[in-house]
Symmetry: C2
Subunit: 235 residues, 2 copies
């Protein structure tokens, strides 16, 4: 039995090229986490001397327990950050997307596993570079701290919604949150499958599916196909 995904036929890391400096301030889409601050100093760090990597779907980006010797910025694609409990249950803490950082809240070893949901392009810098920059740059320190605090708040929000709200409500919240990053008027495409959503929201695949149909019949959302949805503002 494979460890993290049912069928990890996805590829392995594929180093592409040294930094091509084509990233223009990450500016297009808003952050997923509302409370994540602007991050000019942190992104600048990746503009200077980063290394690009490309991952196929279900490829492992970093593995729980191994040395945390780098920090990542997502150039494109979606990354799932998760852990596995003793009894094999998977919990996906977050789906990180374009412009978001991965690995800034670890110091010695990774405390989670990161995998590519779809095709992912990453920029990475050695952790030592980050640490050196932190030693001198006070703005960078503020940003990093704000980012980690924002992640903490996000987890607490998850905890809260896990306890208070039922399956359809949680799903709607997730979809709404996901949709806020897209300004588009049309359908939004979910890069992750039902199992991923289930492991993120703490329910079974079947319950996710049923929650989708509940939201659909209540006309809170519309579904073009399984992975294309739209939120009904009218409701």
């Amino acid at each position: 039995m494979t460890l993290l995904t049912a069928e990890p036929r996805g590829g392995q890391p594929t180093p592409l090229s040294l930094n091509d400096t084509d990233q223009r301030s990450t500016g297009s889409g808003a952050r997923k986490d509302r409370s994540v601050p602007r991050n000019t100093a942190l992104t600048a760090l990746f503009g200077a001397a980063s290394f690009r990597q490309r991952f196929q779907p279900n490829g492992t980006i970093l593995l729980d327990g191994t040395a945390a010797d780098a920090v990542y910025l997502i150039a494109s694609g979606t990354v799932r950050c998760c852990t596995i409990s003793e009894d094999g249950q998977r919990q996906i803490f977050r789906f990180a997307r374009k412009g978001e950082f991965v690995g800034i809240a670890d110091m010695e070893t990774w405390h989670f596993t990161a995998e590519a949901v779809d095709i992912v392009t990453l920029k990475s810098i050695p952790r030592a570079v980050l640490e050196r920059a932190l030693a001198t740059d006070i703005t960078l320190r503020q940003e990093l701290r704000a980012h980690i605090c924002a992640q903490l708040e996000a987890r607490e929000q998850q905890l809260l919604s896990l306890v208070t709200s039922k399956a359809p409500e949680r799903l709607l919240h997730f979809l709404t949150d996901f949709a806020t990053t897209r300004t588009s008027i049309g359908y939004i495409t979910l890069p992750m499958c039902r199992r991923d959503i289930a492991d993120h929201l703490g329910m079974s695949v079947e319950t996710v599916s049923r929650a989708f149909t509940v939201l659909k019949t209540r006309q809170l959302i519309e579904l073009a196909c399984a992975e294309k949805f739209r939120i009904n503002a009218a409701a």
Copy 2:
């Protein structure tokens, strides 16, 4: 209806005296969170120029949304850190105890409310003092960051156990965790009531009570009275 507690007949903050510097390295008990590192630099900060406050049970220490202008170190007692959802449900994120810090993961305003569970004595320093110290002390920065990261990991563990394990198992985990800080061989006293435990573990008071009896009948724990328990190592 009162906001946070059923009957906040508890007292208000009672400024006592300026720092009496009687704190000897906080060393006696281990930390609750396993991954919390040694914190000499941070505690030293409180030894230098701190202010003592005393709170009666259910007294409000700091209020969600207000300015985060201080940082706290618990000298004695137990503090609950919580938020309230729109529908009135309370979620207690952590019970902070002697030697632990409160408020180090907030930057502008508090994102939670802290209340005294029993009689609590706090040492506090202005946030500005912390910030000034951080600007020059690299060790302090490392410690602070490690602390916040540890809290993040703790929340993720909570998330995981909330999803994976059932009520009795979660309760046992909580009790075990609580007991690790006490080296004593006898019964351990819980400072918080069933409702607090319920709001911490994400279940109803009745379920907490039933989980206690389940653990008792399975001989995993012993109960002298409602708030004095002991974990059976044999099991």
